[in-house]
């Protein structure tokens, strides 16, 4: 297997799972990045504020991991047109289907939501097919 990193993957997943657990038992929310980001507004109401804090933490967590010695995030590769098209499709698709890898893939499946299980199967297949056609 190619560049397989089981330990960091399991540990990283543990942190992500713990994040979802805490967000739910503490404030009753689903840790779906699409839902949190797409619901952001410029306002100081509690409903808008917790989203900003979460996103701030998301950036801070990445920063912290790099300070602790994890590799820097890498930039997406390919032409600007390809990157922009991909970004648009990711944004539009996740809002239309109400979730992404976190909301459907992690949170939805772990609470056995039929919609999320199907969404995850569909976007995984669609992404694998795209990589097969376009190449990685």
């Amino acid at each position: 297997m190619h560049n397989f990193t089981p330990y960091s993957a399991l540990l990283g997943g543990l942190f992500i799972g713990l994040s979802a657990l805490l967000l739910f038992v503490l404030i009753g929310r689903i840790a779906g990045i699409t839902g949190i980001v797409a619901g952001m507004r410029l306002s100081l109401e509690p409903e808008a504020r917790w989203r900003m804090y979460f996103v701030g933490g998301l950036l801070g967590g990445c920063w912290l991991a790099v300070q602790l010695g994890m590799p820097l995030p890498s930039a997406p590769q390919g032409s600007t047109l390809k990157v922009v098209m991909a970004g648009f499709l990711v944004g539009a698709g996740t809002v239309i289907s109400n979730g992404c890898t976190s909301g459907h893939g992690v949170c939805g499946i772990s609470r056995l939501s039929k919609r999320s299980i199907i969404a995850t199967l569909v976007f995984m297949l669609s992404a694998m097919l795209t990589v097969w056609l376009v190449g990685s």
């Binding site: 297997m1 560049n3 397989f4 089981p6 399991l10 990283g12 997943g13 992500i16 799972g17 994040s19 657990l21 805490l22 739910f24 038992v25 503490l26 404030i27 009753g28 689903i30 840790a31 980001v37 509690p46 917790w50 804090y53 996103v55 933490g57 998301l58 950036l59 801070g60 990445c62 920063w63 912290l64 590799p71 995030p73 890498s74 997406p76 590769q77 600007t80 922009v84 991909a86 648009f88 499709l89 944004g91 698709g93 996740t94 809002v95 289907s97 109400n98 992404c100 890898t101 976190s102 499946i109 772990s110 939501s113 919609r115 199907i118 969404a119 669609s126 992404a127 990589v131 990685s136």
Partner: protein, 136 residues
């Protein structure tokens, strides 16, 4: 407390994504590339996240309400509909094109590169446009 809870959950999420190297789009593409050099790491990230998150969602049957909110906020939609499938297909295509989904894209913003900024701006436009179309 609500804001602090969200900040903590965000931190853990960003830390987890970076530790698991999901902020490296090539690693994600290598997972999606099942026919060539497969890297199964992403499956382990999801697996361990799922197990921990499942505990959180199961706790709702033991708790009357979250610690710092009046109730648990779960998606109300239960039916598998056309938009779930269509959105998931579109998301998968975008994800497979460059290997970025919303979580890692936003978390990586703290070490932003020009292509990443293009991706995020396009993603936010995609989210905004489809939200607009949905509310019509």
């Amino acid at each position: 407390m609500k804001d602090l809870s969200a900040l903590l959950a965000g931190l853990l999420f960003g830390l987890g994504l970076t530790v698991a190297q999901m902020t490296n789009p090539q690693k994600v593409l290598d997972f999606l590339d099942i026919t060539r050099q497969w890297d199964a790491s992403l499956a382990l990230v999801m697996g361990s996240a799922l197990v921990v998150a499942a505990i959180g969602y199961a706790l709702r049957f033991k708790m009357r309400k979250p610690f710092y909110a009046t109730g648990f906020n779960l998606p109300r939609r239960l039916k598998v509909d056309r938009s779930l499938i269509l959105g998931s297909i579109l998301f998968g295509v975008g994800w497979g094109m460059v290997g970025l989904c919303p979580g890692p894209a936003v978390a990586s913003l703290v070490y932003a590169t020009q292509p990443l900024l293009y991706f995020i701006i396009a993603m936010l436009i995609g989210m905004f446009v489809s939200k607009r179309l949905q509310s019509k």
